[in-house]
Structures are given as C-alpha cells and as structure tokens.
Amino acid sequence: MDFIPKLFAKNELIVAFLVVGLIMFISVLVSKYLLRNRIPGAAVAITLGLVLAYFGEKKGIADMPLFAGMAFLGGSMMRDFSIVSTAMGASLSEIKKTGWVGILSLFIGIAVAFFVGGSIGYFMGYKDIKSVATIGAGACTFIVGPVTGAALGASSDIIAISIAIGVIKTVVVTILTPLIAKRIGLDNPQTAMIYGGLIGTTSGVAAGLAATDPKLVPYGALTATFYTGLACMLCPSVYYLILSLFV
C-alpha cells in the first residue's frame, strides 16, 4: 500500500488544491449553519488553516509529507503573484484619493509598532537597547524582527522572540480584522490603504481583508507591501538612533 503516499508526494501541488478546496467547503458550511453567516466562510477557512498549522512545526501542516504541497501553494511566490493579480480590479483614482495620508500611515504604523513594542519589552525585563529594538522590530513583522536583530547583533533567543511576536501579530490581524472592520470604518478603498500602511504585515493584511471584503484586498495590499522593506530600513537605523536617546 505504500504507493499511495508516494503518489501524493509526487503530485503535492495538486493534493494541496484538493486540501484547500476541502477546507473551504467545510468552512463555508460551518459559516452558514453554525455561525449563521456572522463570520464569512473565508475567515473561518483562514482560522482553520492556523489551527491545522499548529499540528506541524516550522512549516505548519506542510511538515507532514502528505501536505508538503501546501508550502508551495501558500509560499511567497504564489502569494505575491495572486496579490498582484488582484490589482486588475483596482482603480487608480481611488488610490490617488488617499493621497499622502497613505504614505504617512506607513511611517506612523512602523513607528508605533517599533516604539510601543520596544517599550513593552523594556518594562517586561529586556533592558538592553539591542533587545528592545529587536522586540520592537518584531512588532512590525516577523521579517523586520530578525533583520533588525541580525543587523544590531542581538542574541538568538531575542531574535526567536521577535519572530514569535511577528507571527502573533499576523494571527491577531487575521482573526480580528473581519470582526472589527465595521467599528473602525474599514469598508472603503481609502481606509483599506490606511489599514494596510498602519498594520503592515502582508500575510495578516492579505488574510484579514480577504475575510472582510475581497474588493478591498488590492488597496490594503498595495500599502502593506511597502511596509516590510521600509521597516527593515528604518528600524535598525533612524528609529534605533531615536531609541538610543531614551534607553
């Protein structure tokens, strides 16, 4: 019977299509009958994905050979490619309407995450500036944390914590966005762009907006995709220097 796992391994991407299709199908049923459409099917599916990821290790469910294809389907190449494709429905005039506030939201979002995250770390016992900066950078995204930590020469356990902070942020954003979208007025392209700039974690923003309103995805993703790169430049340099005035 060992030809079956072999067959699955050989066709891993196709298996992943089937698995995601099944997750979506179950989630739509759960959304419709158990949650009475209060939480959209996509949001249930994304949350279910996170739960499944817990059963694996570093690569979530893809650590199991049977589901290895999920890592390719959900990897950065496919994610970025499908995000770019959503731009086809976006309108340039809506983007222009947001204006400079969209760019401002990026700088504020990175600053708030970095300094607030760092301060919390400081008060929880991490007093040296390298650790404070690395923890703050982790509060931006799980890429900014290790990049900043490596640049400043922080210890590896601090870098691990910064990655954990970034992943927790992604999870929080994914689950929280559809739940509080109405309350924060996240129902138009302009607010979606500001949201993308302030929150920044591409995975979280992408998943959160998908679960809220797929029409808003291109706008939020557009600003969010500049966040990580900008934060990787600002955190170990300008923001670190500002931080050194206080710590």
Binding site: L50, T86, A87, G109, I165, A221
Partner: protein, 126 residues
Amino acid sequence: MKIYGVAVLSACFIAGQLIGEALGIFFHFDGNIGGVGFGMLLLIVLGDWIKKKNWLDAESETGIHFWSGMYIPVVIAMSATQNVKAALSGGWVALVVGVFATLLCFSLIPLLSSLQKKTGSSGSSL
C-alpha cells in the same frame, strides 16, 4: 487567449520585483523593497492602457481573473503553513507585545481615516 492575460500579469509581477530588487541594492538593503506594490501599480496602469487600446479581449482577461480568484485559497494555504507553534512558544513577552502593539495600530485607523477625509480631496498627490 487566456495565456495572454497570464503573461501580462507575469510581466508586471517580474518588472515589479526587478524594481524592488534595484531599490534594495540602491539603499544597501539585502532584500526587495515594495516589489509587489510596484507590480500592482504596473498592472493597474498597464491594464487600464491595454483595455483602452483593446489589445486584451475579455477571454484573455479571464487569465488574470483566475489568479485573483485563487488569492483566497492561496491565503488559506499560507495560514496553514505558518509557524504557529513558535508563535505560542515565544512566551508572555511575545504574546503581550504582539497583541498590544497590534491593537494600538488598529485604534489609529479611524484617526488617520478622518485625516484623509479632511485632506484627501485636495491633497491627491500620490
């Protein structure tokens, strides 16, 4: 033909990535700066232009629409392959920082949103 749409999308994607990489090299940063964002802007502008010129028929455009329809499934696969265990094993510091800093960023959205409404119509200078 559908492949024309997919090819246009791929061209925008790769051009965007190249711009992002070039910016990374320019700023001495080991990585890509906004490659996806530039790819999106290119597709918005190029897509608009191609449509006006009637170079891409509806059939070809479905090649792009297929991929934007695959976006949610890709995100589901992405969330199923996150390192959730590491997130939970980061201890209290990770949890408190991750949740609190994120909530604060959320609370700023209405604030900047109202700022945009006040200035947006006049300051469209992106």
